[in-house]
Amino acid sequence: MLTIKNLHASIEGNPILKGINLEVKAGEVHAIMGPNGSGKSTLASVLAGREEYEITEGEVLFKNKDLLDLAPEDRAREGVFLAFQYPVEIPGVSTTNFLRTAVNQVREYRGQEPLDAVKFLSVMKEKMKLVEIDQKLLSRSLNEGFSGGEKKRNEIFQMAMLEPTLSILDETDSGLDIDALRIVSNGVNKLKSAETATIVVTHYQRLLEYIVPDFVHVLYNGRIVKSGTKELALELEEKGYDWIKEEANAASV
């Protein structure tokens, strides 16, 4: 589904991603871990199409299409969804306000019938249950004054509404208490299928007990320096990143 080959990206002339290679197949869950500042969010943003980043080398294929060639909205319409690490506040715009148009633009792109107001509302109700989110929250200014947990739940709610094939969750677990974590992970798991794939970026093994990964990758200094199975996450939890950094630094000398 997703093939990343030797991806290099920089911002304002500073190289951040320095040769990422990753293959994600339908039905798989990949976890990306790594120390702060290693480039995890950068990778997620580059995949979603943030324009500040300059791609200096490499390619990304999504369902055999050149992903880097598409505008951010077209990537979303193709089925890429990014749950933001820091969801943006937008004064005066509520979730319900933009989501119907967004959903219908996505549906139109996919050749599906638009949802009328009634149908939209009933789909919304159903997905709201999934992440136990309140309608009142959805009609407030987006993320303005939302608690950390509310922001993350709203991200997963939108994901549910947009029915992506590839979901990238950037630290969706950070700042969640255990109940919220369970709700959010449950939501993600219910949306999983043999046709979809998930990339979870996280610092905590805890999440991976709920969303069980097929592969775990460690991103360090703009490269994936180690890949393994879910046991790798346990090892990282126990030992930290120093041994990985040492290995990586030794290898690059």
Binding site: A48, G49, R50, E51, E52, A71, P72, E73, R75, A76, R77, F81, L82, F84, P87, V88, E89, I90, P91, G92, V93, N97, F98, L99, T101, A102, V103, Q105, V106, Y109, Q158, L162
Partner: protein, 424 residues
């Protein structure tokens, strides 16, 4: 002091014919105007708005625009969809009561020449702004509204200005509104350019809001990009009265709005909301002034601007709190979004506070569209233009929501949406 060329244009503006219904008032206003002269660019009050140069360049005839052919169909077409209320037509500045419609009781609408109100010129004073003096010297006839005591006028009164000139002529319009004690009413105003010829519209509107009355005046300025407008609007607000002004500016060549609210007694409230959505070379200057004279009065002000192309906006918000006006609450906010590198905004809060126990806050911001937010919406599948339009509309909506009449608000709303290119 006024130079020779200034006086030439001023004399042209003032004209020679003496068709005023108030010849004595007109001739003394003429003297005042000549003594004051047109504002030079150096003049602080008109520093960013070279109105004199604009008039020199665009006005060629300087004759008074004559009454034009106007059909009931044209009038009907200018009303907002679903409008329910009374309306009064201004034909090149002069009220045309036979094309107007009056369905409600509790107020009177008469020509100034008929009622000859004693309060005329007592609120907007000639010495304050030369354009008021020019107006007083030149207007042929105007409108006088009196809302009787205790009357709640349920539906709005809509003023429709039809402006048309042949070769850059001058239109002076004059309105005096007296809202008596405990009365309630809302006024709407739309300025329509009948064609694309240039003209100079010089409006003066005076409002007296008697104790405990509640009134509002909402204006839509959507003139052709050849139109020059100066609007002097002043309201005296008496004890416990509430007055709200909404000004939505969408077009014109150069527009200057002088809006003054005089809070004359305790317990009164003055609100000023404004939105300017500019493109092309449109220049809109909002000078507002709220004068707190007595304790326990409140003023709220929110002006927002979205400026595209090489448009220019000016906001100058003066809050004057006199020594007597303890316990004043005064809020002012001006926010701007610049959509192009060639667009400019000059914004200046001007606070003069002589009382010590007041709550007064002001703030202004100027920025671009939030790129992070734009990316967020795009990442949800919204096209870039849609996302932009949605964000800008949300920004503008905070002003539009203060317009009390639904049909008028929807009309303004539709124009704003069209301009912002959003379908949401």
């Amino acid at each position: 002091m006024a130079s020779a060329t200034q006086i030439d244009h001023l004399e042209l503006l003032l004209g020679q014919d003496s068709s005023s219904s108030f010849p004595e008032m007109a001739s003394s206003a003429r003297e005042q105007a000549l003594a004051a002269g047109l504002p030079a660019v150096k003049e602080e009050e008109y520093k960013f708005t070279a109105i004199q140069r604009k008039i020199e360049k665009s006005i060629s005839d300087f004759g008074r625009a004559k009454v034009l052919e106007l059909t009931p169909e044209q009038v009907a077409a200018a009303l907002p969809e679903g409008f329910d209320g009374d309306y009064i037509v201004f034909n090149n500045g002069i009220p045309e009561l036979n094309l107007s419609s009056f369905g409600q009781e509790g107020y009177t609408a008469t020509l100034l020449s008929g009622s000859r109100p004693e309060k005329l010129g007592k609120v907007a004073k000639n010495e304050k702004d030369v354009f008021t003096a020019i107006n007083t010297a030149s207007f042929i006839d105007g409108l006088h509204i009196e809302v009787a005591k205790n009357q709640q006028i349920e539906k709005p009164i809509h003023f429709l200005f039809f402006n048309q000139s042949n070769s850059g002529q001058v239109i002076n319009s004059r309105i005096l509104i007296e809202v008596e004690a405990n009365a309630e009413i809302s006024f709407l105003e739309n300025t329509v350019s009948v064609n694309d010829e240039s003209y100079f519209l010089n409006q003066v509107t005076e409002v007296i809001a008697a104790p405990n009355s509640k009134s509002s005046y909402s204006r839509l300025q959507n003139e052709s990009n050849q139109a020059i407008t100066v609007n002097n609007f002043e309201t005296d607000i008496h004890r416990d009265a509430v007055f709200t002004s909404n000004v939505i500016s969408l077009g014109g060549d150069m527009v200057r709005n002088n809006l003054t609210l005089n809070l004359l007694d305790s317990g009164c409230e003055g609100n000023m909301y404004g939105l300017y959505l500019l493109n092309g070379k449109t220049h809109v200057d909002n000078h507002t002034n709220v004068d707190h004279t007595k304790p326990h009065a409140e003023s709220n002000e929110l002006y927002k601007g979205i400026l595209a192309d090489s448009s220019r906006g000016v906001f100058n918000g003066k809050i004057f709190v006199r020594q007597d006006a303890q316990k004043t609450n005064a809020f002012q906010q001006n926010n701007n979004i610049l959509l192009s590198e060639d667009a400019t905004i000059n914004t200046k809060p001007q606070l003069e506070i002589w009382a010590d126990d007041v709550k007064c806050s002001h703030g202004c911001t100027t920025g671009q569209l939030d790129e992070e937010a734009l990316f967020y919406l795009q990442a949800r599948g919204l096209g870039k233009d849609q996302a932009k339009g949605l964000m800008l509309y949300a920004f503008a909506g905070e002003v539009l929501e203060h317009i009390p009449d639904e049909a008028f608000r929807n009309h303004a709303d539709a124009l704003v949406k069209e301009r912002l290119g959003t379908k949401i």
